[in-house]
Symmetry: C2
Subunit: 336 residues, 2 copies
Amino acid sequence: MALDGLTSRLEVSMAGSVLVSGGCGFIGSHLIDRLLLRADLEALVVVDNLWTGSRQNIAHIADPRLSLEIQDVESFRSDRRFDEIIHLASPASPAWFMREPARTIKANVGGALNLLPLLKPGGRFCFTSTSEVYGDPLISPQPESYRGSVDCTGPRSSYDESKRCTEALLFEAQRVEGLDIRVARLFNTYGPRTRTDDGRAISNFINQAVTTGILTVYGDGSQSRSWGYVDDIVDGLERLFWRDDLSYRGPLNIGNDNEVSVLQIARFVCSLVPGSSIEHHAPLPQDPTNRCPDLTLARRVLPGWEAKTGYQDGIERTLEWVRKEIAAVEAAPGAQ
Amino acid sequence: MALDGLTSRLEVSMAGSVLVSGGCGFIGSHLIDRLLLRADLEALVVVDNLWTGSRQNIAHIADPRLSLEIQDVESFRSDRRFDEIIHLASPASPAWFMREPARTIKANVGGALNLLPLLKPGGRFCFTSTSEVYGDPLISPQPESYRGSVDCTGPRSSYDESKRCTEALLFEAQRVEGLDIRVARLFNTYGPRTRTDDGRAISNFINQAVTTGILTVYGDGSQSRSWGYVDDIVDGLERLFWRDDLSYRGPLNIGNDNEVSVLQIARFVCSLVPGSSIEHHAPLPQDPTNRCPDLTLARRVLPGWEAKTGYQDGIERTLEWVRKEIAAVEAAPGAQ
């Protein structure tokens, strides 16, 4: 993929200094790769506590403009002010945020509250929200105007509600102070640099297929998702976050609107890894039955953007990456 | 009203030290009055930044167990740990929270995050949530299981979403750590000690009636609310927050389920103050069309509790208080 193609074509803002929270994460690190292609970028500060992110995700970068601050975003202090702040810091996998709900709320809401004063006057604050703001949706596909069906006392609520509350903070700052904000609602995303212990379906299936050979499907697997390959999703973020000439600043659904069941994904992974098989486990608590973005608005606001990678293609590329990672670990000195 | 009646009858916990955030506020100060009737209470620390609360609301108290800390709840520091924490700090009137949305989120979410570590092991954390978690509800009355219809990007979202997110924080702490929590969802509450510039319907109407004589009704006034007189509401809080023997800890609707339109309230106030009249103004943004608690659960969990004060009686008592306040101000030395 020609990463430099889009950036040179878009009319992007004069960035100067950019802060990215969660830049060592799965999506964050892909966004960092794109940011560093920007000629107008003078300094890029990544704030990450490496809770779910990994140094390894940005280890390939040798750009003097990049600096990494290993700190909690909710207590990060800096004398510096930034032209753009991109707030991605948060676990995104239920397995992770359900284990540490208070920390999840601190990262999202506390993080945004702490970062806002670090923005230069006239600066831009970008936030990756989530399709989880729709909860277990009663309509499909979900347009941005849908108010959602989230149980604010349920086991997924730390993530869902802290994303909703951070949206509230930003849209209210836009209304009251005229803050330049960009808010994306990301649907399921997968691809290279997902943690092996991430816990979400595609990475789970692939890692299970190449290790134990037994793929865990929760419930009957009929629950559906729209699976977005990370390159497509980050392509959408780039267009939403970096362009000056947008009249609409969010919330904007970004995802793949081809809805596929969890079971179908598991079967496809099995077909790629001979000898692997599926095992059904009890359903996860409050696992949404469906999730599919209405992309009408995205197609209007981000003309030319499309999540074009089909799940077969995306899964094959992710599998290839996982196999290379395993090979690299095994080849490393001291590997057992 | 015999304030000491209930407390002596209930089997209450051995409180020891209690922290109340927002204890100088409208509801908070009434709750303080009740807390100080508890013989088991050794120390009561009120944390209040006097944003919407007032020193005047607790000026009648001369109890050595009470101490006031004038500080923001989200940054309050203490070496002391508490047996019970009751977190009420938040503006509750749209006029106030819409002016300072970030501060509203800080008070609710930041406040809860900051107070949780101040609880002794085995202590109890109580929170006043709100019927606003239901947004502009699509069903009526609203049971606690209703997931709500809140626009998390709208002009009321700082309050609604920060209450929802704080609920999430507490219910997740209950799930993960077994924290003893109590969460009430309060519906519209009115009565003595509302600020004259509070901005909500009943206090607005009464203050307008006795000053300008012109009552402002937003829209046609057909929007309905269930108006809870403060004594009834605090009576419910007392039962939910102080009893040890509750199997259900929230969320629990507490309110009056007699739904009455805003216009009917305005007309009743006019009937009490000769010469006053109604003026219609443009509707408020995203003003809910209706709001009525389903009290099925409250009646089961808090047997004997009932919001028994009718709006006529409650409004007359509030009007009497407002008149006394005005008379006291006018009689004060230096009054003009």
